[in-house]
């Protein structure tokens, strides 16, 4: 199965001058690396590496959040190409699937904690690694998304999902859980590109809303226009697949704030240091929700307050039986 890759981080090419400075900086770092390492460890602090994404602003933000979360006893250093030949035991925090792959390809034994990755991407690696690979999951869990839809449209009973034959499994675990929350779900299988819209039309006839998983085969910049416009014309809302799609016109998507990711990452690093193993990949407990208020208003949907939606979803996640009985 092809891993969905909705993390699309644009490259920021530097000017010639910057590049030259970077080369000097890299050389300097390379030369001083071993000295620094020794210095850090001798100072009593512990070390993690951070393999960044191509988005430097995101890297800076994550680094400062991780700094806060890990505390002053931990030193974060940038991951350098080739460094694993000297140090293959210090954990590396990788931002995004590309950074993860970069580190992983260099040395398959180095412990990696991947951030900003999807469950479908990291689960396989994590299972095979025996605790040396894990991740803080970034894609919103589908049940959480479905419940957000239910809170926004309390009268909803039917959830329609679109999948390709090879991505049906994304939704299958969810459809079993939906009845506990007073919902039923149906997966509409899109057999080929030109069947997307006819299948969507049937799905819209069935569902009170469309639940979208981060499935690049269905939801991508090329198809999203048709999907959102068709749903809107039928007065139907789309929940998910991820935060950027809310700006496009999807009504809502839950997401994990970066602070939460950093906090759980710090937790995982600590557990690794204590027991030599990462816990299995997990979602941070706390989340936020992104709403498209303009679309909601236009569809005359009276949205509850953002915090209220989050609280209500948390309650439903905690006690499905209770909310189903309501």
């Amino acid at each position: 199965m092809k891993a969905p890759e909705h993390l699309n981080i644009p490259a920021k090419p530097g000017s010639a001058a910057t590049r030259w400075h970077l080369v000097i900086l890299a050389l300097f770092l390379f030369v001083s690396q071993s000295i620094q390492m020794a210095a850090a460890q001798s100072a009593g602090g512990s070390l993690v590496y951070l393999a960044g994404s191509e988005n430097s602003a995101l890297n800076r933000r994550m680094r400062s959040l991780l700094d806060d979360a890990l505390g002053s006893t931990t030193v974060i250093r940038s991951f350098q190409p080739g460094q694993t030949s000297q140090d293959a035991t210090t954990p590396v925090i990788a931002l995004g699937p590309e950074a993860f792959t970069r580190v992983r390809q260099e040395n398959r034994n180095v412990p990696i904690l991947a951030l900003l990755v999807d469950q479908t991407f990291i689960d396989g690696y994590a299972e095979r690694s025996g605790g040396s690979v894990s991740g803080i999951l970034y894609d919103p869990p589908l049940l959480r998304q479905a419940l957000a839809g239910k809170v926004i449209l309390p009268q909803a009973t039917r959830v329609a999902m679109l999948a390709r034959p090879d991505t049906v499994e994304l939704y299958e675990p969810l459809t079993e859980k939906l009845p506990d929350h007073g919902l039923e779900g149906k997966i509409f299988v899109v057999t080929s590109d030109d069947r997307l819209i006819p299948t969507l039309i049937r799905a819209l006839n069935y569902g009170d809303f469309i639940l979208a998983a981060p499935d690049n085969n269905i939801y991508n910049p090329r198809t999203i226009k048709h999907i959102l416009l068709t749903a809107y014309r039928r007065n139907r809302i789309v929940i998910g697949p991820s935060q950027p799609y809310v700006r496009a016109g999807s009504l809502a998507s839950t997401y994990t704030p970066l602070t939460e990711i950093a906090d759980l990452a710090a937790d995982f690093i600590e557990q690794y240091r204590a027991g030599g193993q990462f816990p299995p990949p997990a979602y941070p407990d706390n989340f936020s929700i992104q709403l498209n208020l303009q679309v909601a208003r236009s569809l005359n949907i009276p949205l509850p307050d953002r915090q209220e939606i989050v609280r209500s979803v948390e309650q439903r996640l905690a006690g499905p039986r209770e909310s189903a009985d309501e």
Binding site: L229, L258, S288, S298
Partner: protein
Amino acid sequence: MSVTNDPVKNPEFPGSPRTSCRLLALTLAGIVSSLTMANAAEDTAETFDLAASGDAPEVFEIGSDIPEVLTTTRLRQPKSRVPGTTTIITGEMIRDLGIMNLVEVFRLVPGMTVNAVGSNQPVTSYHGTVHYEQRRLQVQVDGRTAYTPSLSDMDWNAMPVPLELIERIEVSRGPNSAAYGINAFLGTINIITRAPEDTVGVQLRAVSGSRGYRRAFGSVGDASEDYRWRLAYEKRKSDGFDEQEDDGKIYPFHNGYDMNTFNYDSNLTFNNSYDLDLRAGVVDGIDEEDARKNGKLGADENYDTLVDDYYVQTRLNVSLSERHFFHIQTSFQNYDRRQRFTICIPESEFSQILDPGSSTPELTPCGRDETDPFRANLNEDIEESRLEFELQDTILFNPDLKLVSGLGYREDTYRSETFFNGRGTNYQSRIFGNLEYSPFRWLTLNSGGNWEKTTTTDEGYFSPRLAANFILSDNHTLRFVYSRAVRTPDAFEQNPDWSYRPRNVPPPFTDAEGQRFLVADLVDPATSTYGKTLEEERITSREISYFGQYYLDSSTLSLEVRYFNDQLRDMISGIINEGEWTIDNNVALDQEGFEVEASLDFPGTKLRVTYAYLDQNGRYTGDDDRDAGDRQYAIDLLGRLSVRHSGSVAWIQDLPFDLTSSAAFYFADEFRRSQFERADFRLARRIFATGYSYELALTMQHYLSRDPTLSPSNIIRDHNQFFVEAGVRF
């Protein structure tokens, strides 16, 4: 005595173009200056909730290649900002409730009534008035004016709109001339059909039911990146009412119809900024006319109206930027009605008609062995066409200030030997605009107007509308609306040249062959207003309405309440037929009342309730030469479709085993003869299989009140009517 709001005659009229320009300029200046002070940051936070995502990965441009799809250009105005009360009936609800005829949808709209006149000609109106020739609503199908050009009434039986293709119907309740021009007098109906993209694939449906009801629908369509299309065919037929009453006796009723409609709808996208809608359609069929009901001048047998209509429509949508877009729309529609019938007038009566000295006798049918009667073929053929052009431009100066403005031009042509002795044309041109301004989060102001000139009266009219929407909290809105509108008399009311030319006349009256028998000579001279120049009808309407939405325990409640106070002046009342022509601007109406529309959505359950209360007071304001009976009759005619209490209750319920049930109750209390009360029940099973879905349904209509409501002739023998449906989509 009629007062006109023609700016030439009434320069002090506040809406005259010069004043309105100055007003507009002033308003604009005021708004622009206050804008500079407005806080622009509020917009981003409000519309997209970015404030919430300060710590979100998205801030770092992750996913920035995903286009913004549902932009302001594409979003419909929320109800909280609409300047007036609007009812939206979705196609889904129409299908779920098992509604079998387009016109019956309007029973779901508070304040609207539905009935049938003549040989089963459906009529509907908002806030009543006349039943025959109901011509006070603007009706549009995908932006194309749908009422007939010469008399502005509606032929609902021949509408090129299959029920399966309805996306939604929006009814703006109250005068809306400011946006839609001079016929949007009592209200506006907008029928929006489904986008070709939304019906890709194949859909088939067949319905069969009581009183010869048969309907077959099929559509096929496809969508590629830049071209989306649909072809649809519908056949619908019905035998109409079972029988009719005449002078206390029951007779068979020739009042069915059999229509075929073909539609082609497409959309071509040239690039991100330009796309073109292209539509065309044909309606072909027959509408049965009963001689006893519609027969004129001694018509001695039933006949059929042959319907042969077509239309073409294009609309170019251009978006110059995210904040500036416009469309240019042109359409041409042709309505061809062929009605030919034979007549037989006893010799003595026809001699009286020929004698200019004597008055027109009351015609009696020919006996079986009538000697030397006058026999002939007559026709009421008419071909009407409308060429329509509209340019509408929208500018969003900022999220709180929006200007919609445009130009319209219309050419209504009619050709009929009988009704117009040849052909005639009316021209209408208009300029319109609406400024929507939200100075505060809690207030939206709308000021709009339409200036229109028509050759039926050779005058120009300004119709303003002002509205203030107070958004009390996000989910509660209070609106105050003031609007004025006019309805100008139509071509046939204003300029009839009505006559009959007998053809195939046998002896002894062969001389009459091809001669013109003028209706002006046939109508009762004592009451005739034939040839009199009519003035426009005027309405001033005030509305206070509330729209609110509530989250209840696992359900949402929407509630809209409208209070209205309407003054209708110079209303044209009277009779239009070949024996009597009495129409005149002779009634003033004051209408007051309130309407409620509420819907409650539970998981698996949808409840919807509407109720309307209408208090209508009429007084005669016409010429003094009428006796009290005639005066009262003129007032009564304007209340034929007006009822004091009306409403509906609908309940749609999802059941296990893929079943959906619905129950609906419609009432109108009361029409001239009786109240209308009907309950509909439907049970449907909808299966979503891989690659296709299908539906089977059974609908029952139960008439609780069995008496004909308006015309004693509209008799339905069995108060239970049944319909079965089967449909498939893949």
